[in-house]
Every structure is written in C-alpha cells, then in structure tokens.
C-alpha cells in the first residue's frame, strides 16, 4: 500500500535546544499512529512539525494529496498549507479552547469548515451540524449554545466534530483526552476509535497514556529526549519492550 505521509530524518531545534531529532516513519491511509513519551520528550514538537505548523530544522516530510501527487511540506507555501489544513487535514488540540471559536455557537463551530469548503445551503449546514453533534453525543438541541456553556469533555467532543465534519484524510491530535476525568476520557476514546474506523482516516495522536495507545493505535512510536527510541506494533512495544526507557515506561503503568 502507498504511504500517505513520509517523514525522513526530521529534526526541529529551538536554538541550541533539541525539540525532536532525526525522526523517520511512514503513515498509511486508514492508520492511527500514537506517539508516546514523557513530558518534554518532543511529542508536540514532532506533531506540529509534521503538520507544517513549525518549520523543520532538517529533514523532509512528504504528503500524498487527494489527487495522488506528492507534496514536499518543507517547501510548502502558506497558501498551500492553509488549503491542506482546510481541505485534507484536521488538527485537534489538547485544550479545546484553542481549537474552537468560543464566540460563536456550537453549530457554527461545526459548520465553519463546511462553509470554508464552499457549502452555502444553510438548511443543509444545520442538518449536518446536528447530526455531527449527535454523533459526538452532544444533544442536538444545544446547537445554538455557546461552547463556553459546555463542560470540558463536551468542548473536546465539539472540537472533534468540528474537525471531522469535512472528513479529512489526515488528522493530528495532541493529547485530546488529557485533562479530562477518566470516564469522560473513555467516552472520547471510544468515539475516536469508532470514527477513525468508520471514516477510514489516518491519524497521528500524541499521548502519554499507554492504555490509549493500546486501545487506538496499531503502531506506536516511543520518544525520549527528542529522539524516537523505539517504534513498531503497539502490542509488541507494550508486551515486549526492547529499549530500557520503554521497559521503564511499560513497567511503571498498571497492566490493563
């Protein structure tokens, strides 16, 4: 199968400090890849760099577009970057407030990306927004409520609806369940699992929770100090970790 995203020897430095270093991998269509590692290990840096939100210091990222043409992301113009972000990608931030438009209603938050793609039928926009609210288990009667009146978990589900409504081919997620209580987390993870399967989208998700990786991702990358120290099938990494850091990580969580 053809890869969707090819990352080669990717590094991102902040001055002298290493953000991430020498990362290479392929992501295939329909695949969810988890990046795990301790705080400061470079997960967000890597994610933001491959989502073209940070410029790489070295290395290359190639993305295969809808029309099958490869795009070099390091040479991407701002116009192309935005077009990709609008038409083919989605980004879910850890804090839903960063990813939502707080001063407009829940419905407008979901409909915005559709309007950006040129949909101009109000009735249809509303219909789709309602069905997506239901899909992420928000009562569609709350379509006109401000996201600020939602709980943290609801806001995160709203952000997921807003991101996935255009059925992006590739979604980047930075700890989408961190900071939420456990039962809310389980609900969102289950939702993501289902949507990823139903929509067949590819996703890269940052998490520091190995149970999340086990539940969602067929493949996992383990990062430490900006470098990928171990990568492979998620169950292999969790059940037979090779690197000392991974062994420590695995042994320090309660087995599920």
């Amino acid at each position: 199968m053809n890869a969707l995203l090819q990352v080669r020897k990717l590094s991102r430095h902040y001055g002298q400090r290493i953000g991430c270093q020498d990362v290479s991998f392929d992501l295939h269509p329909g695949e969810l890849l988890c990046i795990v590692g301790e705080s400061g290990s470079g997960k967000s840096t890597l994610l933001n760099t491959m989502a073209a939100q940070l410029a790489p210091s070295a290395g290359s990222i190639r993305y295969r577009q809808k029309n099958d043409a490869w795009l070099e992301l390091d040479a991407l113009s701002e116009a192309d970057r935005r077009r990709l972000a609008r038409e083919e990608w989605g980004f879910v931030t850890q804090n839903p407030r960063d990813g939502l438009r707080l001063n407009v209603s829940a419905g407008a938050n979901v409909a915005e990306r559709l309007m950006a793609l040129g949909m101009r039928d109000y009735g249809r926009l509303r219909e789709i927004a309602s069905s997506w609210l239901a899909r992420v288990e928000i009562d569609p009667l709350r379509i006109d409520d401000a996201p600020t009146s939602f709980s943290g978990g609801m806001q995160q589900r709203l952000q997921i609806a807003r991101t996935l409504v255009t059925q992006p081919r590739l979604v980047f997620m930075d700890e989408p369940t961190a900071g939420l209580d456990v039962s809310v987390q389980a609900r969102i993870l289950d939702l993501l699992r289902r949507l990823v399967n139903e929509l067949g989208l590819a996703a890269v998700m940052v998490t520091h929770d190995l149970a999340v990786a086990r539940l969602l991702a067929a493949r996992t990358m383990v990062m430490q100090g900006g470098c990928v120290v171990e990568t492979g099938l998620t169950d292999q990494i969790l059940d037979d970790p090779q690197h000392p850091y991974t062994q420590l990580l695995v042994s320090s969580v309660l087995t599920t």
Partner: protein, 234 residues
C-alpha cells in the same frame, strides 16, 4: 491424501528477554525451534508450565520480537519471514492470514459484544449488516445468550468473555490459527462446540497451532503434539 500445503515454517527460532531494569538479566525462553505446520493440521504444544508455549505463539504472532531465526508464513501465495517484515506487512498478515485467540478477551470500553465479534469481519471488508448477522450466528452457536449481545462484555463471566473472544478470533476464516488455552474456563458442552469449530476450520484448509491443557480437548483436536520443555537456566 495428497501432501498438504506447508503454511508455517519455524527455523532456528530463539527468543530471549533482556530486562534492562533487573540488572540487565537475560532470560532465554526459546532456543532454535524448528517446526513445520501444514494445512489441515492441528499441532498442540505440550510441555510443563514455563516451557515457553505461550511465548512461542506470541513470537509467531509477532506480539513478541524474534531474537534469532525465521518465522515464515504463507501469505498471499508466497512466503513472508515475519522476522524481516515491516509493521505494515505484519498487520496485513494478521488481518488476512494469521489469527490469534488468547485466553482472555481484551475488552474495549463501551463496545457491545456483538460489535466486538463482528469487527474483524468488517475490517476485512464485509458489509456491516452481514458481519453482524454472522457474529450473531457464531455467538448463538457458542451459547452466548442473546440478551448479552448488545452489552459490553466488561461485566460478563469468565466463560462468557472467553466465548466472545473465540467468536472474535474465529469469525474471519484464516489459513493459520494460533490458540492459547482458549477453552480454559469453558464447560464440556461449550468445549465441544469449540472443537467442532476447529474441525470445520481444519476441513476448510486452515492450519492450527494451539495450547490445550485439558486432556480431553487435546484428544479431540490434536493431529500431532509438539513437545516443549523449559530451558536450563544458565
């Protein structure tokens, strides 16, 4: 009977664990194992606890990494050495060729039993309604009461969970099946159903490699035993 097609070839397969945080202990579990498995066969691993039976199945499934040797699987009409395969190739082998049923069901929060069973079939491309029908039929055959189908199996009894697990493991007909004590907590009637299912799989050309502690079960399903014993600790 014509010579059956070889499905799995283990050559010089060794596995040891390096435990970096336990004084760099190196635990040798499998040493140079050779084994061929043919279509229609059911080979049962036999040996005392700690002999490495489960480890062997997990290595074949690529759940554990191979330390040395080759695990060659007939996949897509050719041979693929899992020791050399990319993660994407391994995933493809698991999807279409190699099934693994362990003793325990890994429950997924909030997902009903019926969906858990149907999922591998849907992933393999079967339409959802058809897959659910199939899953229902299988659960029915394994005597899982219909009132449980719509519930997540987190609260099921050990035996009920195990039957859901078997249904999930067997719903996609795969040429190679690995079974790690899938019947440990089943009663005789349900064990008999599993034995039937395995026989049907074998008759359809699947090769089975399994661990069955129950003597009666072993008698019913095994075409051959593969003896294993714990390695001397060095």
């Amino acid at each position: 009977m014509t010579a059956a097609l070889p499905m799995l070839e283990l050559r010089g397969l060794s596995k040891s664990f390096e435990l970096h945080h336990q004084h760099d202990a190196r635990l040798k579990v499998l040493d140079s194992i050779d084994l061929s498995l043919h279509a229609g066969e059911c080979v049962v691993l036999a040996g005392p606890s700690g002999a490495g039976k489960s480890t062997l199945l997990r290595v074949i499934y690529a759940n554990y990494r191979i330390s040395r040797g080759a695990v060659c699987v007939r996949h897509d009409g050719g041979w693929l050495d899992l020791a050399e395969a990319t993660p994407h190739q391994v995933l493809d082998v698991r999807r279409r060729t190699l099934g693994y049923v362990s003793q325990f069901l890994r429950v997924i929060p909030r997902v009903p039993a019926l969906d858990i069973v149907a999922e591998p079939l849907i992933e393999a491309g079967t339409a959802t309604t058809e897959a659910l029908q199939h899953a229902g039929a299988l659960l029915h055959r394994l005597n899982v009461p219909e009132r449980l189908w719509r519930l997540p199996p987190g609260t099921f009894s050990g035996g009920e969970q195990q039957r859901v697990n078997i249904a999930r493991g067997l719903i996609v007909p795969r040429p190679l099946l690995l079974l790690d004590e899938p019947t440990a907590s089943l009663d005789a009637a349900n064990r008999a159903v599993v034995a039937e299912l395995l026989e049907e799989a074998r008759n359809a050309g699947s090769a089975v490699l399994g661990i069955f502690h129950d003597e009666d079960m072993r008698q019913r399903v095994a075409t051959r035993l593969f003896p294993m014993r714990p390695l001397e600790t060095s």
